[in-house]
Symmetry: C2
Amino acid sequence: MTTQELLIKAKNAKAKLNMLSVDEINGALEAMAQALVDNTDKILAENEIDIENARGTVSDVMIDRLSLSPERIEDMAQGVRDVAKLPSPVGRVLKRNEPIKDLIVEKTSVALGVVAIIYESRPNVTSDAAALALKSGNVCVLRCGKEAHRSAAAIVEALQSGLEKAGVSKDLVLLVEDTTRQSANELMTADGYVDLLIPRGGKGLITACLKNATVPCIQTGTGICHIYVDESADIDMAVNIIENAKTSRPSVCNAEEVLVVNKNIAKEFLPKLKERIVDNRKENPVELRLDTEAQKIIDGTPAGEEDFDTEFLDYILAVKIVNDVDEAIDHINTHSTGHSEAIITSDKASADKFTRSIDSSSVYVNASTRFTDGGQFGLGCEMGISTQKLHARGPMGLEELNTYKFIIRGNGNIR
Amino acid sequence: MTTQELLIKAKNAKAKLNMLSVDEINGALEAMAQALVDNTDKILAENEIDIENARGTVSDVMIDRLSLSPERIEDMAQGVRDVAKLPSPVGRVLKRNEPIKDLIVEKTSVALGVVAIIYESRPNVTSDAAALALKSGNVCVLRCGKEAHRSAAAIVEALQSGLEKAGVSKDLVLLVEDTTRQSANELMTADGYVDLLIPRGGKGLITACLKNATVPCIQTGTGICHIYVDESADIDMAVNIIENAKTSRPSVCNAEEVLVVNKNIAKEFLPKLKERIVDNRKENPVELRLDTEAQKIIDGTPAGEEDFDTEFLDYILAVKIVNDVDEAIDHINTHSTGHSEAIITSDKASADKFTRSIDSSSVYVNASTRFTDGGQFGLGCEMGISTQKLHARGPMGLEELNTYKFIIRGNGNIR
């Protein structure tokens, strides 16, 4: 099936999905979960081939991300069941007005329509994304990277068999067959077919979407996260938070990449930080990349300009000294990707200025940036983390996969 | 001042605006309103020159739109005062979560930052847009068409004098000096400076924005609105609604352009409609553009294909006969601009299918499409009507000029 044929199928499936009840959608999700378990052997067989093909060409970390097991498939099924149990975001009345007698205006949440997701090599994203899209009333078009494509195809086949068993159209979840760049470009320019495109992947994919997409698109993921240590910070708290934000899982987007320190606390604070995250760490000591002022206080690698614009995703931390909270805010708003930033302070005025002025999705006072996550923020699940301002910002849950329309019911009313 | 210099000013003003209280913003709005009244003579003098320059080159309707009077300026001032009285959309806590003890996550509404508006020849849009942007915490960059530019400049000068009197930066409201296409293009591509661009104008402007804009942008305005008369419709109600939707103000975007009629009611309904909106109308009888089936029932102009994709903004109505509600939905979803559509029916199942399936901002049952308006929908005001699905859909009020961020307050929490 060509990508264009698949998009026509998706568009036609939208009409059927609009008429399903919440119970029918939940039933379909339960059947999808069961079908994953029932097709474990088939999925593992295809996954084995993906792994064989990938071995030698990608890193061990990638092989691990790619690998499925009966337990991982059960986890995927449980993920789908968990999504089924969440409240439906569709049909919420967000606002109600009665401008004249017997004319009722209801701003009501509705599905976007067709949601397309471009992702890379994690096979489990296939069922996660399909479940979130369907639960929020959307037809799901998936486009998986070539390394995981056989696994994804087996997963989608299982999900579709579940949909059919539940008595709904199997076209509610569709996988693009073509894994070349062409199919990604076709999705980016599928005006009238794709209502929302979510690129989940590295910087290259996001940039290509920003440049080429003519369909509505949400930037996700890139996180150059900053932590600013204010003059009034509790030093132990600051050390703990930075250790957590930098080293607990450096490969994720909510990990810290840049430390900004007030000059009046730097001399006392930086040596203690270095002791904790460099000198006393047995595994993976952090490489500090220091600006000129920080180099006068502790040892480390001299930082280049690009170090303040790099998502390291590694045990590396750029360090900059500033005169005050205003300079910190300026630096962060200039260099951040709008993801997550934190201030460590005991001064209410500094905290207030920071939370008002920092132009990012998630702004922390005295906590680690690692909390930026749909589950932690009470959304119940997550489709990705938006770093743009329109429509959805920060972790996206089910509600963010909806739009709204005004439904107006009258009795012959004219204006 | 070049457009680039102005954009830098706007960006710098954002930081100051973030720190203002609701009372300070309301005080600034009151001072802006007073300054409009105080500068009536200056504004009228500049407006006189605009009108002189425009006379002969534009229609009488345009001259009327362009013309100010002491009363119209007082109305503009009252409009600004009305906006000051609306509740502030900024700082609403939209969701709250406490994932672990003492870590409070608040999803909080915040200003977008810099909102740019490109508009044409109505001078009153200048103060309306400035007031809505400022009330919602945004710096406002205005780019007015050349016909009204002297008037707009005098209005902005007055507004800025009000801002200064209120003790806030006059850069919160800025007018682009250049009225050539270049400045519009500069705004469309001002990445990092313009957080939202709203084009208010004709199809050409909207299309140029869609094609060229790299900044976030909201499509507004174009309305090819449909009314579907179902088999079960109350015929008198249908005639009344269509008369209102087509003839009460045909030049606006929520006026009806296409009538879709169920074949089982067409023979009885169409002659009655024609009697009302064609034969018995003394002024401006409606020109009916009929598809082949409708031509068999009443007289009118044979419709060409393009008549079903045209925003006439005139006393012209395209008429199409369909077999059932499904065919009506298909036709409307294919040809509408996503603005406003209505069904006239006494059948609950048809109404339900129509409201679920029609993919437009405003979907009516038994009422005129003319109600699509920020005031009627209970938003208190209106910055335009979005026909897209992301971020804002339908009439945009103050809340739609906000985004949100997550503000997380902790006590040293790590994950």
